[in-house]
Structure formats: C-alpha cells, structure tokens
Symmetry: C2
Subunit: 199 residues, 2 copies
C-alpha cells in the first residue's frame, strides 16, 4: 500500500511518541507518569502531544495497545493450543520488569468499567478479543484431542476464570511485591489443564 509522505511521517512521529510514553509509564506508573513527562522527554509541547492523540485517554489507550502488541510478540506469537496456556506463567513473570505498565493497565481497566469512561469501549473490546483468543486456543486443544470435549459454555467459563486469575494475581502483586506471580499463575494453569484433561 502506498501512503503519502506527510501521512507516513505523522504516523512515524506518533509511534515515536508512543515509545516515549511506554517508557515513562513503565518507569513511573499510572500515578507517577504525566503527559508533561512524556512531552518533556519527547521534546514536544504538551499541546503538540495531545494534538497527536486527541486526548489524554487516547494516548493511554495507544500505550496499552502497544504494550499488548509487545507482550504477545515477546512470548505468545509462536504457540497454539495447550502450549499457549503453558506459556502464560512466563509471560506474567515478565511483567515484573514492567510494573508501571501493569499498574497503568490494571487502573485503566478498573476505571473504564464505568460505561461513561472514555476508555470503556477500548477496554471492553480488549476483553472480548482476549477472551476470544483464549477460547480459540482451548477449542484448538479440544479439537486436537489434547483435552476432553467441552461445550462452548464450558470454554467461556474457563477463559473467563483464567483471565480473572491473571488480572487478580497481577493486582495482588502490585499491592504486595512478595506475591509470587509466576508460581501462582503456574499453579492455576497446571490445575486447569489437568481438569480439562480429566473432564
């Protein structure tokens, strides 16, 4: 696809600003990171930064979308079926090096539970999409005969419980860094797989 120069330049600039914002939130978290910090580090004015994204919420959403992309690329792009679930403890453990981004995600997901929040649609769609991805991997494990047959309703319950575990253990780790993220997620995933194989 051919795109005009100015559009491409604007897009590249936007990606650079997202990179800076990811770095600021990774380091300072949701509470500590500010639009001002991002603008300062990127060497642009506050209003230029906001103009690129339309609003503070859109910038936060762009940061979360980029974080999702990196997380998947870093650990989940090459696995399918049960192997996908077995990879999750290591993916969660990697959040230890990105505390600020997990704090950003956890806080926005909670705040955006209010239907009037500007990030509500993004967060609700993100959950729908992630649940569908997990359901696809579980269905694929069923089809491969790696686990016992399951109804769609069973699969929905399983992927909701798994997602809840990942979110909730992440929150506990943010509140109490002595929480063993990897051990907890690993215990959950192993027990779930054992139950799926027995069902």
């Amino acid at each position: 696809m051919s795109t005009r120069g100015p559009y491409r330049t604007g897009r590249r600039r936007r990606e650079q600003l997202i990179d800076v914002a990811v770095g600021v939130f990774a380091e300072l978290g949701y509470a500590g990171g500010s639009i001002r910090d991002i603008a300062d580090r990127a060497g642009v004015s506050h209003s230029t930064l906001i103009k690129h994204f339309g609003s503070k919420e859109n910038l936060l959403v762009a940061v979360l979308a980029e974080w999702d992309r990196r997380t998947v690329q870093a650990g989940l792009a090459d696995v399918d079926g049960l192997a996908y679930f077995r990879r999750l403890p290591a993916v969660m453990a990697a959040h230890r090096h990105n505390r600020g981004l997990l704090e950003l995600f956890t806080t926005i997901a909670a705040e955006a539970s209010a239907p009037t929040h500007p990030a509500h649609a993004f967060i609700a769609q993100r959950y729908t999409r992630n649940l569908a991805t997990l359901a696809g991997h579980l269905r694929s494990a069923v089809d491969a005969g790696d686990v016992a047959p399951m109804t769609d309703a069973d699969i929905q319950t399983e992927v909701r419980l798994l997602t809840a575990t990942l979110d909730g253990i992440g929150l506990q780790w943010l509140l109490d860094p002595s929480t063993d993220l990897e051990a907890c997620v690993s215990a959950y995933v192993h027990r779930a797989i054992a139950a799926w194989q027995r069902a």
Copy 2:
C-alpha cells in the same frame, strides 16, 4: 465503655454520613458519585462532610469498610471451613444489586496499587486481612480432615488464586454485565475444593 455525649453524637453522625455515601456510590458508582451528591443528600455542606472524614479518600475508605462489614454480616458470619468457600458464589452474586459499590472497590483497589496513593495502606491491609481469613478457613478444613493435608505455602497460593478469581470475575462483570458472576465463581470453587480433597 462509657463515652461522652458529644463524642457519641459525632460518631453517630459519622455513621449516618457513611450510610448516605454507601447509598450514593451504590447507585452512581465511583465515576458518577461525588462528594457533592453525598453532602446534598445528607443536608450538610461539602466542607462539613470533608471535616468529618479528613479527606475524600478517607470517606471512600470508610464506605468500603462499611461495605465489607455488611457483606460479611449478610453471608459469611455463620460459616467456617469448607462451608465458607461454598457460600462465596452466593455472596458474589449479591454484588449484582450493588454494582456501584463493586465499581468503587475495584477502582480504588487498582488506583491504590500505587504506593503513593492515599488509600494504599487501607487496601494493602484489607488484602492481607482477607487472605488471612481465607487461609484460616482452609486451614480449618484441613484440620477437620475435610480436605487433604496442605503446607502453609500451598494454602497461601490457594487463597491468592481464589481472591484473584473473585476480583477478576467482578471486573469482567462490571465491563460486561452478561458475565455470569455466580456460575463462574461456583465453577471455580467446586474445582478448587475437588482439587483440595484429592491433593
């Protein structure tokens, strides 16, 4: 214990204000409920309301503490050991009638994950206390022979996973009201108890 009249009056007034605040947040949620709404309904000025609690955060914390107290009294005061865990799906289902308070709790718990947040200590202590309560009930089930022996570390992992499930499923229900809170929590609790009995 004898207390002086003015102290008792102040305490009673504080309890009345908390009742009003619980009602406002239950109805309007964290995003929709404001200190102004609470003051208006209670027939006091904004500054009088804040004076009773010291800060907005202290008022929110008082609301959450009262909500905890009512939740426990409504469903968990009379049960011990495995019966405590079996009661959790019904307790979670009751949140359906208090969406605003679950939104308030979920949002503040996430925001307070930042160590600099004014409610951080309250939320961190609440998690420590709730994990200890759950651990006590699981230990009591072990001691009664209702489940297989477990180490303290096993019990810690179990109560962290259970807490994560309750928090995470609550968030999913806030984001998507078609989430079946009770069925998901029930599926989790039944599988956990079966695993504890087999271990």
